[in-house]
């Protein structure tokens, strides 16, 4: 017996819609569950005080500072490198076998699990170079981790700048670098900013690459050689060691809000400024 197409369509829509609804509900459940359990613990004291007794009580202020310092350091390292590389690849070379190899390499590294970066950072920066568990080791490790993303997004942003812009600039007598600096980069800026925000979001939530390179000290860092603890690491340690579920939920709530805030900003930048020229 054949079922009329009208009915197979209804069945298909019901199944697909059910699957979609299930997906959204599960993901929303996770966020709401954490916020519901965590937000009651989030008070001004919680945000502004230092942790006491390994985080069993007190707040998470130094952890919040660490959470933002570490990715900022990583971006400060990766941004010039990534943008420079992208400008070189798009504006200063022709598409050759070499650029294809470079692109394949960055693509492969973009897929490498963060634990591999953690392993590398731990042995290379922490042990061999002797930076110890520190802001510096963690920042360098994260910088390598986000470098492929920054190169990729910057390249795409630069490619999206119409060629006529460059031609006009050249016809006015500008050199290649003047064109890049005054025409290409300003127009690619929103795309680059989106890449930065996405890298920031990823770094804030990162645990595996950070815990073995930046360490887990609860003190306020005073130099790049000090160990810091990020919210993701703090949450992981509180939850795993069973130190304090209440503070773990509180930290997770702040962490989720921070990541969502950063990602929302990335979205806003992308929708507001990107694609104006296309």
């Amino acid at each position: 017996m054949r079922i009329a197409p009208k009915y197979t369509q209804r069945i298909a829509i019901a199944l697909l819609g059910g699957a979609t609804l299930l997906t959204l509900l599960v993901l929303l459940f996770i966020i709401l569950f954490v916020l519901e359990k965590g937000l009651p613990a989030v008070t001004w004291q919680f945000l502004s005080q230092a942790p006491r007794d390994m985080g069993r009580s007190g707040g998470i202020f130094p952890v919040i500072v660490g959470t933002f310092l570490l990715p900022l350091l990583a971006i400060a390292i990766a941004l010039p490198l990534g943008v420079g590389t992208a400008v070189y690849l798009t504006e200063y070379t022709r598409e050759t076998r070499l650029t294809r190899v470079i692109r394949f390499g960055t693509d492969c590294l973009a897929g490498i699990p963060s634990i591999i970066f953690g392993l590398f950072g731990f042995i290379f920066f922490v042990v061999i170079l002797g930076f110890g568990w520190s802001l510096l080791s963690g920042g360098l490790t994260l910088a390598l981790m986000i470098l492929p993303t920054i190169i990729r997004t910057t390249e795409e942003a630069i490619r999206a700048v119409p060629n006529t812009f460059r031609e006009v600039s050249f016809s006015l007598g500008a050199t290649r670098w003047e064109t890049v600096l005054h025409v290409v980069l300003p127009n690619a800026l929103p795309g680059i900013a989106t890449g930065i925000m996405l890298s920031l979001g990823r770094s804030i939530g990162e645990t595996a690459a950070v815990i073995f390179t930046a360490g887990s000290a609860l003190r306020m860092p005073t130099s790049v050689y000090d160990s810091v603890r990020t919210m993701a690491v703090h949450f992981y340690l509180l939850a795993r060691e069973g130190i304090s579920n209440e503070n773990a939920y509180g930290t997770a709530a702040v962490l989720i809000l921070a990541v969502l805030g950063v990602n929302l900003t990335a979205y806003w930048i992308m929708n507001r400024f990107v694609g104006r020229h296309t």
Binding site: T20, L27, L89, Y92, I112, P113, I116, L119
Partner: protein, 285 residues
């Protein structure tokens, strides 16, 4: 003068470009340099196919971890791939555009939930449920696969959605003009055209699942043994590195790098597969 600064800029950019590439290459070479000699020394067979992992007594077999990583990834795909692809189809074809504008960003925001949070939900909600209704320790292959399956959903949906959206509108219109229902147009025309993009999204999600560490450490139980069923506690390759990296020295540390090499190879294979699938599509069209 101008000519001079132009040359300098070019030199500087060349140096920058090659140092980023060198930095990234350094990681790959470093892992290989630390890991490969170890594999060659104890022999690939003793490393890959032996089930005895006991670094204190010089036994370095990672076979159980390889099996666990493969099973947990396949399990995650079993959960994540059908749900994700179904979601992508539904969102593209059967949801009005204004609703899409809200749902798509929401999904991509959800992709940003840190993996430790997923892991924690697994420990607090999923593992007790499994323990209560299915038995076993709760922290298990099943819990790991379910959590990973949920984690990769946004990746699968987002890339599949792009693949489906890239199908030319004329294909759909042609099918509809021939009297097909929307669903017939979808599964007879659009899905065939978007096949390689969807496949690539699944392969890339597999890469993410193989490489995931923190969530898996928290929910999979971490026992080094070959699983006999989905309710057994398992340890993946990534978990093995993360759990023992802090105190490993000498040969033990090299063994962890060698584990990293195996992981690396898994990811390279998956990435090349995804690339191959996508390239085929480009050549066809």
């Amino acid at each position: 003068m101008k000519w001079n600064s132009e040359t300098i800029v070019r030199q500087v950019l060349t140096v920058i470009a090659f140092s980023s590439i060198a930095g990234l290459l350094l990681i790959a070479l470093f892992i290989l340099k630390e890991g490969l000699p170890f594999i060659l020394k104890i022999g690939p067979q003793a490393f890959l196919l032996n089930s005895n992992w006991d670094p204190a007594n010089g036994h370095y077999g990672i076979y159980p971890m390889i099996v666990a990583s493969i099973w947990i990834t396949l399990g995650a795909m079993l959960v994540g791939a059908p749900l994700g692809v179904a979601g992508a189809i539904f969102l593209n074809e059967f949801v009005p555009k204004p609703a899409m504008r809200v749902i798509k960003p929401t999904l991509e925001l959800l992709a940003g939930i840190p993996s430790v949070v997923f892991g924690f939900i697994g420990v607090m909600v999923l593992a007790p449920l499994i323990r209560a209704y299915l038995g076993g320790p709760g922290l298990s292959l099943l819990a790991g696969a379910l959590i990973l399956g949920i984690m990769i959903l946004p990746t699968v949906i987002s890339i599949s959605t792009d693949a489906i959206a890239a199908v030319p509108a004329s294909y759909r219109e042609g099918a509809l003009a021939l009297g097909a229902t929307r669903w017939q147009a979808v599964h007879m025309v659009i899905l065939k055209a978007a096949r390689s993009g969807i496949l690539a999204s699944i392969i890339l999600a597999m890469g993410r699942a193989v490489g995931e560490t923190m969530a898996v450490i928290m929910v999979a139980g971490n026992a080094v043994k070959i699983p006999h069923g989905p309710l057994d506690s398992v340890r993946t390759l990534t978990a093995n590195i993360a759990l023992e990296m802090g105190y490993a020295t000498g040969l033990h540390r090299q063994a962890l790098f060698a584990t990293g090499v195996v992981l690396f190879i898994f990811i390279m294979i998956l990435n090349s597969l995804a690339g191959l699938v996508l390239r085929k599509k480009v050549r066809r069209s």
